[in-house]
């Protein structure tokens, strides 16, 4: 199937300066950790939602929040005119982004069935195998870990396996109430979600090797997400029952959409991590989200209150394993030789799709390409103000359910997330100007 590509001007990418490579690798690792914090924090608003609402509807409302965030955040950070100029350079990535969005929506829906049928303790570790699959795809398709040496291989693969073990322990500890049901289908659903998410990183890597900005990629990614999720929700619930459920969910719309918004910030960091350290390292680092989700659950929502010594031992052991795995991966950043093989893959992509060599190179180095628009347009301000207005309106309708929440811990964790957002955002700005 890998037929000869149409004739295109040759793309030549020279080696990147060692100092620049090191700073981009460090930035990618930092983004991976920030992604974990924000993706994990996204679970918090969802915990405020009553279980009466069907999971498909919960997913659809979250995706609506995700859609708004995926357009308004790029409008705020760089302006949508950058999206247009990126699409002119690499139009094929629109199709890749929509495909990735469709995969995300199907995987997310599968996790709902997996949790229903086998419980979180079995489902979570199974779909967490996505990072192992990401390593495989990164190696096979994008020259990641080529010429990396056995120490880096051990760091990345050993780290991912250690994180998998930690994830398993945390999932077991956090789900002692889940009731196993139709085991085989549930296991298949969880594995299916892992395979979909692990394979979804092929479009991610494709985009970032070719030089696309993550802020541009996500705007098309979310079209695939929203369309697929809407089709699934209407197909499974029926249009009228779905509408009634959405109307009756008015008091929790804000929390769900806020969860989607927070999730997008985490995903954006994940995209930058993928761009600068590849999928084999970026994805396992982002999977530290489970640690953050656990922190929110235990400290703010008192989830393990009354749990025995075994449960706490599982939490501590799982957390240590995850942290050790993440540190091992963070310390195994790509060498100049490995990075040059990434450039070979970028060369191949540029040649196949006729993308300008300088655009590809500038993208990989996080530099500006050509003269880019600097001011925001009317559309950008409409997106920013419209989204802000909608969230304010939904917040006015929102009701906080009566449940024991530790406000002090919620504030502390929110501050920790915000400080990561600020420091990582400043690092991204200083190093790449959000490229």
């Amino acid at each position: 199937m890998q037929a000869a590509p149409p004739a295109q001007p040759p793309v030549h990418l020279g080696p990147m300066h060692a100092t620049r490579l090191r700073s981009l690798q460090a930035l990618g690792v930092f983004c991976g950790f920030a992604a974990g914090a924000w993706l994990g924090g996204a679970e918090a608003p969802i915990k405020l939602v009553s279980p009466d609402i069907s999971p498909i509807t919960v997913s659809l409302i979250m995706v609506c929040g995700v859609f708004l965030a995926r357009w308004s955040v790029p409008a705020l950070v760089r302006g949508t005119s950058h999206v247009r100029s990126d699409v002119r350079q690499a139009p094929h990535l629109v199709i890749w982004a929509v495909l990735a969005g469709c995969m995300w929506a199907v995987a997310n829906t599968l996790t709902i069935y997996a949790i229903r049928d086998v419980g979180l303790s079995i489902a979570f570790p199974l779909w967490n195998t996505n990072s192992l699959l990401g390593i495989l795809w990164g190696f096979l398709l994008f020259n990641e870990l080529h010429y990396a040496g056995w120490k880096r291989w051990l760091g990345v693969v050993g780290g991912a396996v250690s994180m998998f073990g930690g994830a398993t322990l945390l999932a077991i500890a956090s789900s002692h109430q889940a009731a196993p049901g139709k085991a085989t289908l549930g296991v298949l659903a969880a594995l299916g979600a892992g395979i979909l998410w692990g394979t979804m990183y092929i479009p991610y890597r494709k985009a970032y090797l070719t030089g696309m900005n993550p802020l541009s990629f996500i705007t098309f990614f979310t079209v695939g997400e929203l369309v697929t999720m809407t089709v699934l929700a209407v197909g499974y619930r029926g249009a009228t029952p779905l509408w009634h459920e959405l109307v009756s969910a008015r008091p929790v719309l804000f929390w769900l959409m806020l969860g989607g918004f927070v999730w997008v910030i985490g995903d954006l960091f994940q995209q930058y991590a993928t761009k600068y350290v590849g999928i084999s390292r970026g994805i396992p680092l982002s999977n530290t989200n489970q640690l953050w989700g656990m922190l929110w659950g235990i400290l703010v929502f008192h989830e393990l209150q009354g749990g025995g010594h075994t449960v706490y031992a599982q939490v501590v052991g799982g957390s240590i394993l995850m942290a050790l795995g993440a540190v091992a991966i963070a310390l195994s950043s790509a060498t100049a030789r490995e990075h040059s093989s990434w450039q070979d893959a970028a060369h191949r992509e540029g040649k196949r799709y006729g993308v300008e060599a300088e655009y590809v190179r500038a993208g990989m180095e996080g530099r500006a390409y050509g003269s880019s628009p600097t001011s925001r347009t009317l559309l950008d301000w409409l997106l920013i103000l419209g989204t802000t207005g909608l969230f304010i309106a939904l917040a006015a309708l929102a009701r906080l359910p009566h449940m024991g929440i530790s406000t002090g811990w919620a504030v502390a964790l929110t501050l920790a997330m915000l400080s990561l957002l600020a420091t990582c955002g400043i690092a991204l700005w200083r190093t790449t100007r959000f490229r």
């Binding site: 199937m1 149409p6 069935y113 289908l185 299916g192 979600a193 479009p203 699934l232 799709y353």
Partner: protein, 40 residues
């Protein structure tokens, strides 16, 4: 649509259709949809 633009789109779709990398996620997506249908 102008002829040059149509030609450009044809080239683009040909490049995607002959890229093995494209068929891997597409196949996985279709598999996921079949699985979802069975679960439902």
């Amino acid at each position: 649509m102008s002829p040059s633009r149509t030609d450009g789109s044809c080239k683009l779709f040909r490049a995607i259709a002959t890229d093995l990398h494209f068929w891997i996620p597409l196949t996985v997506l279709l598999g996921g949809l079949v699985l979802l249908d069975k679960l439902h």
